[in-house]
């Protein structure tokens, strides 16, 4: 029994962390806010570190890894508030690998020459749908389509996190775009990967908000003492750490279960999304409160992480959706929906 990443996994994660510390600063995130798309020159660099091809099979120039490594890296993406559609491209890559391995997209994604957007049954919003090179669209009837932005009518939507370029998608399926049918099971798994990925990012966001606020609380002096010496501030931040430390193994276990397609995988993922979401929610609330007015401005960086946390708390099924799924499984009071409804 061992609940921890391997040394290799940690090494990879640390490499990505270092890369992001350098190449995804808060100035970079702000640049994504201002741009039409968050996909930048960094995408190719991420590919060079291996990040865009984590779940791309080795025969298509990827790393051939799975949900454990993806989750580890997405924690780092959360910590840096990386704005690129890394998770979406990974979800798409999983579907490509299963249903259209030879369409060429896998190698393109692994090389950072392409980024993907994805729209699963129940979802109405697609991240970066306009700037993505390819859209993977799963329909409720199990049909899987691969399209380009040109095949769709896209309507931009404004997320609270302006670095998330969201669109509603009006898409008319055709025989040309259809790549597979009866893919319900794979689509459900893809949705679980999305939820796990959101959970992982939420962990990283929580850690970043906490670290930032601890630093502030040490340095900010009021009435002659650092505010971090007040018991109320201490308890606000201790409560965040408790939430985070209990969410971490839950997310780790979900990655483990999903990577192995265990029978409990869907429930484990739902629990991960709930715990990581709650940790991030509490972090946003308490870190804002500790900062006070300065945290309430867009000049301070805190808001970049809070807003990403709120957005990802909602995306890929919010707490209510995932709680319903767990309740159905535990209490049997309703049939468990195979996929989170968004």
């Amino acid at each position: 029994m061992r609940l921890a990443y391997t040394e290799d996994q940690e090494l990879f994660r640390d490499t990505v962390r270092d890369f992001l510390a350098d190449r995804c600063t808060t100035a970079d995130v702000r640049a994504a806010w201002a741009a039409d798309t968050a996909i930048s020159a960094r995408w190719v660099e991420l590919a060079k570190v291996g990040v865009t091809g984590i779940v791309v099979p080795e025969e298509h120039d990827g790393l051939g890894m799975g949900d454990e490594e993806l989750a580890a890296v997405l924690v780092e993406a959360g910590r840096a508030a990386l704005p690129e559609p890394l998770l979406e491209s990974a979800v798409a890559a999983g579907l490509f690998a299963e249903f259209a391995p030879d369409a060429g997209w896998l190698a393109e994604i692994a090389a950072g020459r392409a980024a993907a957007s994805v729209l699963l049954p129940g979802q109405r919003l697609a991240v970066e749908a306009a700037a993505a090179d390819v859209l993977v669209i799963g329909l409720a009837d199990g049909d899987l389509h691969v399209a380009t932005p040109a095949d769709c009518v896209l309507t931009a939507q404004r997320s609270v996190d302006r670095s998330r370029k969201l669109f509603t998608v009006d898409f008319t399926p055709t025989a040309r775009t259809l790549v597979a049918s009866d893919t319900q099971r794979a689509l459900a798994r893809a949705a679980d990967r999305g939820a796990l990925g959101a959970a992982a990012q939420l962990l990283g966001l929580t850690r970043r908000m906490l670290d930032t606020t601890v630093e502030y609380a040490k340095q900010r002096v009021q009435r002659g003492v650092p505010i971090g010496s007040h018991q109320s501030v201490q308890h606000h931040l201790a409560n965040v750490l408790i939430k985070l430390e209990f969410a971490r193994p839950v997310v780790l276990r979900a990655a483990y279960s999903l990577a192995r397609d265990l029978p409990s995988a869907a429930r484990d993922v739902s629990m991960a999304k709930i715990y990581a979401g709650e940790a991030a929610d509490l972090a946003a609330r308490n870190c804002l409160q500790v900062h006070g007015a300065i945290g309430y401005t867009e000049e301070h960086d805190l808001h970049l992480f809070m807003k990403r946390a709120w957005a990802l708390g909602t995306a890929w099924g919010d707490a209510g959706v995932h709680r319903d799924r767990i309740a159905a499984d535990l209490l049997g009071d309703a049939p468990a929906p195979p996929t989170p409804a968004f």
Partner: protein
């Protein structure tokens, strides 16, 4: 006990409702913290004023209706129920005016109150300073005597000044006696933001709009006529105003009843049972807040004072407001992260998050409750 309204009060309600129904803009105005929205909101204030609805509790001579507390509550309920625009003149009419009524000279009142009520002059608060935080006794901005011109020269820096970006006049404390410690030696000034030496730096809030600003004063001349109350008596005067900010005026029950009812409608349109209890909670809390306010009004009408009870009030409404809006965003599901236009839930959420911070953080309010109401020994 009597929870009925009198026939006269009901008539007042009908009149207010009729006017609001006929006049509230069908579409939401742009944010009052944009240039365009600021002007649109001023125009709305003018319209209210012309119909004598801008400052219902004020004396008739300044545009009011001399409404009592109950009528004021009724008006506020109707105002929010109608979905009327936010009050761009709020800092003036609710926060500053009570002080001006109590401590201002007749000349000052005549000069400033009508323009304030009509939305002609928007007032800006000058409480916080970068180093003072929420501790107003730490004010460092200073005023030096200018005998020659008959006034004072003000220098220093104010921050978190709501409406500061577009507003016209600032009220706040400046240190007139540099020798005095803490809350002594402070004087209450009214400052023309168009005066020479004033620099305003807008600060974008969580919603991206410059809802507050940093105000730099560099040798800004303020005539004696714009000193409010006595020199070096600013602290005492300020206390009265922060009493208002934390107390009844800023947050009428109608302010929460309206979104709570909208939340019920939102739930009914697309029920998510997992959120049922949170929706019920939001509605109940808004209702409890209304009853609590009724209790306060009853006390005030019997000659009582609010005092530290306003801290209880402030903690409750500010946390309720956050939860109410967070619940709405959850009800919206995937769309919860989106600007939802006329729904305004996301804007409302971001706005609500300021509640537990401003006008004394909720941590400080809880200390106040413990020390001043429960009588516990002072926290260190």
């Amino acid at each position: 006990m009597d929870l009925e309204f009198t026939e006269q009060e009901q008539e007042f309600r009908r009149e207010a409702r009729a006017w609001l129904t006929a006049n509230v803009p069908a579409e939401r105005l742009p944010s009052m913290d944009t240039r365009e929205g600021f002007e649109a909101h001023r125009a709305w204030e003018r319209k209210l004023f012309d119909a004598r609805w801008a400052v219902v509790s004020w004396p008739r001579e300044y545009g009011g209706r001399e409404a009592g507390l109950t009528e004021w509550l009724i008006f506020e309920e109707e105002y929010y129920r109608a979905g009327a625009p936010g009050r761009v003149s709020q800092n003036g009419i609710f926060l500053f005016a009570p002080t001006l009524f109590e401590f201002g000279t007749r000349e000052q009142q005549d000069r400033y109150l009508p323009a304030m009520a009509a939305g002609e002059e928007i007032w800006v608060q000058g409480w916080s300073e970068p180093e003072a935080g929420s501790d107003l006794a730490n004010v460092r901005s200073r005023a030096e005597r200018d005998e020659e011109r008959g006034g004072w020269r003000l220098s220093g820096q104010k921050i978190w000044s709501s409406r500061g970006t577009w507003g016209h006049r600032l009220f706040g404390l400046f240190r007139t006696d540099p020798q005095a410690q803490r809350h002594r030696g402070l004087t209450y000034f009214m400052v023309d933001l168009a005066a020479e030496g004033v620099t305003v730096r807008p600060i974008p809030q969580l919603d991206g709009e410059p809802g507050f600003a940093e105000v730099f004063l560099d040798d800004v001349f303020v005539p004696d006529a714009d000193v409010l109350g006595g020199v070096d008596e600013g602290w005492k005067i300020m206390i009265a105003t922060t009493g208002s900010e934390r107390g009844l005026n800023l947050r009428s029950p109608g302010r929460f009843a309206a979104p709570a009812n909208r939340l019920i409608e939102l739930y009914k349109r697309d029920p998510r049972p997992a959120e049922r209890d949170a929706v019920v909670r939001a509605w109940m809390d808004a209702d409890a807040y209304r009853l609590f306010t009724f209790g306060t009004v009853t006390k005030l009408q019997a000659g009582g004072a609010i005092g530290a009870d306003s801290s209880i009030n402030k903690v409750f409404w500010s946390e309720m407001d956050v939860e109410l809006h967070a619940t709405a965003l959850r009800l919206l599901g995937e769309a919860g992260e989106l600007d939802d236009g006329d729904g305004g839930w996301l804007d409302g959420f971001l706005f609500a998050l300021g509640g537990p911070i401003y006008a004394g953080t909720n941590e400080i309010q809880r200390n106040t409750i413990a020390e001043r109401i429960l009588g516990l020994p002072r926290a260190k």
